[in-house]
Symmetry: C2
Subunit: 265 residues, 2 copies
């Protein structure tokens, strides 16, 4: 079994990813993001996306009630069903689900976030942000057994029924642990981990899992979260993670063939 995640950029090669999936004989769980489309909708509705920077320099979305509504529209709606249509066209049998459906991603809401603003720190309490603590393994197993391709995205849900935004990269690790998955493919709009973001020749081809923390110095923006997610994934039994470019001709095949960054150890 393999988990494939595709980030929420606008230039993703969707048909290439669908074609790749038809060539994979293992069972696949597909996870997708939706950030850029959400930002676009936010702009068009004059409701700009707010961000929070944590003390360790990690940027997240300030998910208040309005921002959650936009996420539901783009992640769970527009993008989830567009992936479903794309995969159906390719002859696959997708079922699109958010983490809230059937308690697929059961989460705890964070009581607060710490936001850095200039040289001050501030407690932020009103966000719908959480972390996934449990996966509905049985539901995924049932769908896989019946030949479906689960197509999963935000949000997750708390025990009391609150929808929360969680970190897709960490969720890969939580799902891998629950399902006993050994290979993760994580695609985004870059060739892989670059030493220098402006130079695609600076691609790092191989990383030993033990060297992951040192890679933080190269990571910009959401790559930091991918590294944290990868560290956690290896902690829970994943054996190989392939980072690759979602925009190329055969995105999954290329990532599995080591054309991006492969982390193992």
């Amino acid at each position: 079994m393999m988990i494939v995640k595709v980030g929420g950029g606008l230039d993703v090669n969707r048909s290439g990813i669908a074609e790749d999936l038809t060539n994979i004989s293992e069972k696949v769980i597909f996870v997708h993001g939706g950030r850029e489309q959400t930002n676009l909708l936010a702009q068009n509705l004059n409701q700009p996306t707010r961000k929070i920077v944590s003390p360790s320099g990690i940027t997240s979305i300030y998910t208040d009630g309005k921002a959650m509504e936009l996420m539901l529209m783009t992640y769970s709606g527009l993008l989830n069903k567009s992936w479903v249509a794309q995969f159906s066209k390719a002859g696959l049998r997708p079922i699109g689900l958010s983490g809230a459906d059937g308690n697929l991603w059961q989460a705890e809401r964070k009581k607060h976030l710490i936001a850095v603003e200039g040289d001050k720190q501030k407690l932020v309490k009103d966000t719908f942000t959480g972390r996934v603590i449990k996966v509905n393994k049985k539901l995924i197993e049932t769908l896989l057994k019946d030949g479906y391709l689960p197509v999963i995205t935000q949000p997750a849900i708390t025990e009391s029924g609150e929808l929360v935004n969680t970190d897709n990269d960490l969720n890969l690790a939580v799902m891998a642990e629950a399902m006993g998955v050994e290979t993760l493919v994580n695609l985004f709009e870059a060739p892989g981990l670059l030493k220098n973001l402006d130079d695609s020749n600076s691609l790092i081809r191989k990383v030993d899992k033990n060297d992951l923390p040192q890679m933080m110095r190269y990571a910009k923006g959401t790559m930091k979260k991918k590294i944290l997610g990868a560290v956690k994934a290896f902690d829970v039994g994943v054996r190989r993670i392939c980072w690759g470019d979602s925009r190329v001709k055969r995105p999954i095949e290329s990532a599995l063939a080591g054309k991006g960054t492969v982390i193992s150890g």
Copy 2:
């Protein structure tokens, strides 16, 4: 087994509907609309909803590609997951799905629609409009057997993977036939079928199924579709349809108790 459908108005009593569902011991399939929320989003995005009037006077949505994107955002995203959250809060086990997921609602795209404009008729060919011809009965059965509450909405999907807008009221009949359902509850923002739309005292309490076609003279707007859907539902074995008000204190309970319009025969 019972199918409960709630229309897409803005004043629906969601918590009342959730509470009602916790009191129903039969298995339930839940279907929801989303038209008003979609119209709001369309307004906010300056992308007004276009309509088509058929030769028989039935109004539908002109579902071009852009309109379909809005539907995905509201029906499949915002509203579907809001219902899921609402039902989860009430202790139910909802799984939100569009008709496109797992080929739940397999549809044929209509080659064209006939639109009346003034005293002319026009062929409209570029809409993503269809009719559901097959239901994935096995998927629904599996979910019901495992204790889930299916929460289903637009769009449906064609064999070639095109997303299409279909008529929820007709879909109730198609699902009822596939699943052998005898009772339909259909809630909307009116007390039931009114002889005079402006007078809630003109509520028609009981209709014999054979008299349904005559009721068309009282029907305004989407009520026409509900009558057509009901005729079809009785054709395929449904024995009782309860139309009722989605805004009252106990919407489902009230409809089942005959406080709206009950059609049988």
